[in-house]
Amino acid sequence: MKIVAKKSYDRKVLDINIELEEHKIYALIGANGSGKSTLLKALSSIIKIDDGSTIDMPFKNNDIYYMPQMPYSFDLSVYNNIKIGIPTNYSVGQKIYCKYRIDTMLKDIDLFHLKKANATTLSGGERQKMALVRSLVINHPLILLDEPTSAMDINATLQAEELIKKYKEEFNGTIILATHSIKQAQRLADTVLFLDNGEIKEIADAQTFIDSPQSNELKDFLQKI
C-alpha cells in the first residue's frame, strides 16, 4: 500500500511518502508531536488529509480499525463494551465464536474478573486492555493502535503484546502501532518507522535502529528513552 499524505497539525506538516507491505506489523516510533497519532488518524480517515495527497490502500474504510490512545469507555459492562466492536450482521455462529474469543482474551490479559464490571469504573490501564480486546476480537485487515499500552504496567504490557502476536498468527492482518518504546517495537514489529517533525526519517528493523541509528534525530531520540 502506498501512502502519500500531507496533513497540517500543531503548526507542523505531516509529510509522508512510503510504501508498506500487507500482513506485517509496523511500529511507528517518535517523540511527542512527531506526527504518529496524526498519521494513524489520517490512515483511518478520522481526520482528512490535505488536498492533493493520497492514501492508496487495498482496504475499505470499514476494514480499518483504529484504537485511540485514550479509548472511550461506554457506560456499560466491560463485556458489552467489547461486544460493541462486533458487527450486528454477524451470524449466530460467528457471534458465539466472538464470545469465546472475548472470554479467552480477557483471561489472557487478566481482565476476566472484571468482565461484568462497569467500564467507567476501570483504571486507565484496564480501559486500554478492554479496548485492545475490542480491537482484536474480530478480523480487521488493518489495525491501527495508537500507543495501546501507554497506561499499562510492564506485566500488562507483555500480556497485551502476546495478545497482539496471537492475533497476528491467527488472522495474518496488517498492524501499525504507535509507541514510544523501541523495546516494544523490537518485541513486536517486523519493521520500525521513525517519525520526526511529521517526516519519516528512517525505516529499518528494530535491531538495526538500536545498533546503528543513521540520523542525528534518531540517535537523539534513542539516547533520551
Binding site: 483511518s44 470499514n62 484504537m67 479509548p71 472511550y72 461506554f74 450486528t88 462497569n118 475490542r134
Partner: protein
C-alpha cells in the same frame, strides 16, 4: 407583620386539606397540558440535542446558535405568535384551536423544545467529542452511535425532561394569551394563581402555588432517586 404571612400560609394549607373541585379541575388541566407538551418537546428536542452533540457537520454552529437564541425567547412573544397563527382570521384559524388546551400545548412545545435541545446538546457535547475517535475507530453505525449516546447521557436526559416539565407547569405568559384562562376549559394553575392574586384571593393563590412547587419537587425527587440508583448500580 409575619403573623399575616403565616395566617395566609395556614389558610392555604387548610384549602388544600379540605379539597376543592375547581382546584382539582385546574390541577388536572395543568397536568394534561404540562405532561403532553413536555413529553412532545422531549421527543423532538432530545434526539436533536444528541445529534448536535454527536456529529460534526456543516451548519452545526448555525443550528446551535438558533437553538440557543430560541431558548431565550420570552413566553409572551411565543404566546402572541401562536395567537396570530391560530386566531379566527389567522392561517390556522379554521382549526378552531385558539383558547383551547391544544393551543396551549402548541405554545408550550414551541417554548420548551429549544430549551431541551440546548440542555441536551450542552451536557452531551463533552461525551460526544470524547467518544468521536472511538466510535469512528470501531466503525459504529449511526443508529448504534445514537443509542449509545442516549445511554451515555441518560441522567442528563432525565434532568432535561424534569426541567421541561417544570417549565411547562410554571409557565404563565404564553398559556394566558392562547388559552384565555377560561373557567372549566383552559384555566391552569399559573393563570388561576394570577387571577386569584388580581382578585385579592391570596389564600387560593398561595394554595395553588404550594401545589405547583409540590408537583415539581415530586418530579425532581423521582429524577434524583433514579440518578442515585443508577450511580450505585454502576459502583457494584
Amino acid at each position: 407583620m409575619w403573623a399575616s404571612f403565616w395566617q395566609s400560609l395556614g389558610k392555604a394549607f387548610e384549602i388544600i386539606g379540605n379539597g376543592n373541585p375547581l382546584m382539582n379541575e385546574v390541577v388536572a388541566t395543568t397536568m394534561i397540558m404540562a405532561l403532553t407538551s413536555s413529553i412532545i418537546s422531549f421527543i423532538i428536542g432530545a434526539p436533536l440535542g444528541l445529534l448536535l452533540a454527536t456529529y460534526n457537520f456543516k451548519g452545526k454552529k448555525v443550528l446551535v446558535i438558533i437553538a440557543r437564541t430560541l431558548m431565550g425567547l420570552p413566553p409572551v412573544a411565543i404566546g402572541i405568535l401562536v395567537y396570530l397563527l391560530f386566531r379566527g382570521i389567522g392561517p390556522f384559524g379554521p382549526l378552531k384551536l385558539i383558547f383551547t388546551v391544544p393551543a396551549m400545548i402548541i405554545a408550550q412545545i414551541l417554548l420548551i423544545t429549544p430549551i431541551v435541545v440546548g440542555m441536551v446538546q450542552t451536557s452531551a457535547e463533552s461525551s460526544g467529542q470524547a467518544l468521536l475517535e472511538t466510535r469512528k475507530g470501531i466503525r459504529l453505525g449511526s443508529t448504534r452511535t445514537f443509542l449509545l449516546m442516549a445511554n451515555e447521557n441518560k441522567y442528563q436526559l432525565i434532568a432535561a425532561y424534569m426541567f421541561a416539565f417544570a417549565r411547562a407547569t410554571a409557565e404563565v405568559g404564553a398559556v394566558q394569551i392562547v388559552g384565555g384562562n377560561i373557567l372549566h376549559k383552559t384555566m391552569v394553575m399559573t393563570t388561576y394563581i394570577a387571577l386569584n392574586y388580581n382578585t385579592g384571593n391570596l389564600e387560593f393563590a398561595v394554595a395553588l402555588g404550594i401545589i405547583v412547587v409540590a408537583i415539581t419537587l415530586g418530579f425532581n425527587l423521582v429524577g434524583g432517586i433514579l440518578q442515585i440508583v443508577g450511580s450505585r448500580k454502576k459502583k457494584k
